[in-house]
Amino acid sequence: MHKIYLSLKYGFICVWSMFVVAPFLWALSTSFKDFQSVTSGATYIPWLQFEPTLEGWRVLWESPANGGVDIAEPYLNSIIVTCLASIISIILGTLSAYALSRFTFKAGFIRNNDITFFFISQRIMPPVVLSIPFFIMLGFLGLLDSMVGLIMVYIVLLMPIAVWIMVDFFNKVPREIDETALIDGCNPYQAFFKVVLPNSIPGMIVAGMFCLIFGWTDFFFAFILTFTEVQLLPVRIVALNSSITPWWSLSAAALISVAPLIVVAFIVERFLSKGNLSGALK
């Protein structure tokens, strides 16, 4: 009985691991192919089944004038926009979450829970609903196709996540910490910045990781709200998906785009195993 259970368990884990890894391995193999090897049918092992070339990786750094793709610039744009939007969301989200977790607000029928729900409910809106009015608003403000405009939009996207994670996190930080600080003669701001904040670094890191993930992986807003000046990575890569898709450079670009977030996966796992995440995600 126990043996059957164990073999089922490891079997399932193996199958799922293969499923998870398969598209990446396929992309890795494809990125070393050229037109000839792609169009002659599915092949997997370099040297044995096809002659590998570095063409797919090389064109990523060439300028479009030389028939390349040049993902360096959109890569940098993506990093700047995602990081700035995440940082702003974390700062504002943490402050709001602290207020919602510690103080009681009353305005008519609105209570703390309603305000929290308002923050989180922003995630219900599909990007397509917001994209048209955002397009017109940013056009009016002259921020279309600019980083500032994109960062504004991403804040709306990311702050709900920061508030959601931080409210739960602060609810688990004992109130006695603040109260002791207040009794010791701190004013509420000192209590927050000197005592509460240092204790909530793990929560903020988790929230930050989530913001990075959802910011980095967004496609639709960048697709609608930018054209040529500020192109983000997903938009540039998806543009390759045309009638004649260059599978090799597409695969190489996809692998490069995943790379930075693998680090995020390790950080998230570390917090998970240390038990810090369980407080932050519930």
Binding site: I13, G41, P127, V128, I132, P133, V238, S257, L277, K282
Partner: protein, 288 residues
């Protein structure tokens, strides 16, 4: 603990969010009462005409809604079952525990739209590895140009992409469960299956509900996958509400009508998510 400066903590975030969102929301409502399209761009006032057309003369919208319901419920259900099993498996003693945890998280870290382009090559009818494998059995299904298989493909890609998120939420929940309950169950001589039914599952119910609702919210926005993989096709067989709104608004430039669609969509989503949350609470927490 209460003091008059409490607003200074709350307001920056709230005001920034409202400040950025107030115009888009009001504008959508106003736009839905106009006939703005590519021929006559402008905010005229035509009353509820768009809404009347939407409720009486647009079967395609309601079909896309049903399809969205089918796709999101199926994917979230699969994600929950698989995510929960995976979380249970790497929860306790297992070789290479941390390695598997990282590995299972990775699909979530990859950009959906980019990975979907890769999936499109995987499911390519003549050059992709899936059909290369199936051709051993004399099968070459047309994954992306068959009504039924196109839906299956979208579901496979969505499950691949977002099961990790479910896995993460559920594993975090499992790791926070109190040890005492399991000790007590062991002392009473409960086996692994009984432990799961009487201890783990009931304790996980609130976390499960939270995770399912969050995933349903995110899954209802399903758009990138459909856009790249099938463009709603073949015909309209994978067209979801978001994608239909996208076609009306940004392909055919019927801005006014798409605003009405958006607004109706939001209202229906909020109502149905609330109902689903209530039902889930009743079903999963009935032991209490």
């Amino acid at each position: 603990m209460n003091f008059r400066h409490k607003h200074i903590f709350l307001l920056p975030g709230l005001l920034v969010l409202i400040g950025i969102l107030i115009f888009p929301i009001l504008f959508t409502v106003r736009l839905s009462l106009s006939s703005w399209d590519s021929f006559y761009p402008g905010l005229d006032f035509i009353g509820l005409e768009n809404y009347i057309r939407l409720f009486t003369d647009d079967l395609r919208f309601w079909e896309s809604f049903l399809r969205l319901g089918f796709l999101s419920l199926t994917t979230v259900f699969l994600q929950y079952v698989i995510g929960f099993s995976l979380a249970l498996m790497v929860w306790r003693d297992i070789a290479f525990k941390r390695f598997f945890r990282v590995l299972f998280l990775i699909p979530m870290m990859s950009t959906p739209v980019i990975m979907t382009v890769i999936w499109k090559t995987v499911f390519h009818e003549s050059l992709g590895p899936v059909n290369d494998f199936l051709s051993l059995f004399e099968l070459t299904p047309l994954w992306l140009s068959n009504d039924f298989l196109a839906k299956i493909t979208v579901i496979i890609v969505e499950v691949w992409q977002w099961t990790p998120f479910m896995f993460l939420l559920l594993l975090a929940g499992l790791l926070s469960l109190p040890e005492e309950a399991f000790l007590a169950a062991s002392i009473d001589g409960a086996g692994p299956i009984r432990k799961f039914i009487y201890v783990t599952f009931p304790l996980m119910a609130p976390i499960s509900i939270g995770a399912i609702i969050i995933r349903l919210i995110e899954a209802s926005k399903i758009m990138d996958t459909v856009y790249v993989l099938t463009s709603g096709g073949p015909g309209t067989s994978t067209e979801t509400s978001s994608f239909y709104i996208f076609i009306k608004g940004l392909r055919e430039f019927q801005m006014g009508y798409s605003a009405a669609l958006s607004f109706t969509y939001l209202v229906i989503m909020i109502i149905s998510l609330t109902i689903i949350a209530k039902v889930l609470v009743r079903v999963l927490m009935k032991q209490d």
